[in-house]
């Protein structure tokens, strides 16, 4: 057999729906990679999107003010409350570069759950390091009957402080350490889509990034604990529902 047919990536469409002029993002930009994947997934569904390219509604915002609370206006803008007959797919490309920086991590993690509890038909988390998972979720979100929200973690070489070539590795690591578990909530039912039975220690992930350079081992431990608790709660919910 030709080795050609052995690889899953060969099943993808090779048609590029991404801006052919290039873009002005940094080298190794996780957001650009995620946008490219999203367009690939969407284009399978709707050929009219091919023309739209970057003209799809695209808003860059800092959703958090300097306090750790979501600012009064910004959060509802991100998660608009679904009205009847609305059918909107919201995608958040999160590069974790907020003004109060990493502190918001725990809040960001709750966004999919907040969305699910405000009548979103489908919510999920995704990461461009797991492209097939991402394609599937975007497709499900597109087809969902009602509002959908997808939260995509996009590693940012400039903001996080790592070499541009590590972008995909760090995304994968965030998933493998269970800091950013991939899951979906479809009409109230939780499902963890990549379950690492043998998670990586969080230390590996932290040590790779300059933004954590001042962190002491105590902080790493407490974040590890937080991540573990979050993941176990998630696991519980897959059994019991919301």
């Amino acid at each position: 057999m030709d080795k050609f047919s052995l690889f899953a990536a060969q099943l993808l469409t090779f048609r590029e729906c991404f801006s052919k002029k290039g873009h002005s993002a940094c080298a190794g930009c996780g957001v650009a990679l995620a946008v490219r994947h999203v367009y690939k997934a969407l284009n399978e569904n709707d050929k009219t999107l091919e023309k739209a390219r970057w003209q799809i509604p695209w808003k860059q915002s800092s959703i958090f003010k300097t306090t750790d609370q979501p600012s009064g206006q910004a959060l509802p803008a991100l998660l608009s409350v679904p009205k009847e007959n609305d059918n909107i797919l919201n995608i958040c490309f999160d590069n974790e570069c907020t003004e109060s920086r990493i502190k918001n991590n725990s809040l960001i993690k709750k966004l999919p759950a907040i969305a699910a509890s405000s009548d979103y038909a489908y919510t999920a988390t995704a990461c461009p390091s797991h492209p097939f998972d991402l394609f599937e979720k975007v497709n499900k979100g597109w087809e969902a009957d009602g509002h959908a929200y997808i939260h995509i973690l996009c590693p940012c070489p400039a903001g996080w402080g790592f070499e541009p070539q590590e972008t995909v590795r760090l995304g994968r690591m965030a998933v493998e350490t269970r800091l950013f578990p991939l899951y979906e909530i479809s009409s109230g039912y939780y499902q963890v889509t990549t379950d690492e039975t043998n998670p990586r220690p969080l230390k590996d992930y932290i040590k790779k990034q300059d933004r954590f350079s001042s962190w002491k081992s105590k902080q790493i431990e407490s974040l590890q604990e937080e991540a573990d608790v979050f993941f176990h709660k998630l696991k519980e919910k897959t059994k019991t529902g919301i």
């Binding site: 080795k3 050609f4 052995l6 690889f7 990536a9 060969q10 993808l12 090779f14 590029e16 991404f18 801006s19 052919k20 002029k21 290039g22 873009h23 002005s24 993002a25 940094c26 080298a27 190794g28 930009c29 996780g30 957001v31 650009a32 990679l33 490219r36 860059q60 800092s62 590069n95 570069c97 003004e99 920086r101 461009p128 492209p131 940012c156 070489p157 400039a158 903001g159 996080w160 402080g161 070499e163 541009p164 070539q165 590590e166 972008t167 995909v168 590795r169 300059d210 933004r211 954590f212 350079s213 001042s214």
Partner: protein, 92 residues
């Protein structure tokens, strides 16, 4: 980039110094460019999948090559290839 603490940096996407940012199809070319070794390549398309700039395209023979008008020399294709078929070399 390496020895700065997180606080010393501007927020990403609002960078003060352009650094590695190359605007669109630029006259300026990246320092490094990926080079494919067809003997090692298994045509798995992973390099293609992970390129954030959509610079890699599949050739007629099933192997991959780069469009240097789009490539920013980030090295993700080099890092993600399982077979070590992509090396980063000085661009001329």
């Amino acid at each position: 980039m390496v020895n700065k603490t997180f606080k010393q940096k501007s927020i990403a996407c609002h960078l003060l110094e352009t650094g590695k940012v190359l605007p669109f199809k630029s006259e300026e070319k990246p320092e490094l460019m990926p080079v494919w070794d067809k003997d090692l390549c298994a045509r798995c398309a992973l390099c293609y999948v992970y390129c954030p700039d959509a610079a890699i395209s599949r050739q007629e023979d099933g192997y991959f090559d780069v469009d240097m008008n789009l490539c920013k020399g980030c090295g993700i294709c080099h890092r993600e290839c399982w077979f070590g078929a992509v090396t980063m070399q000085e661009a001329d």
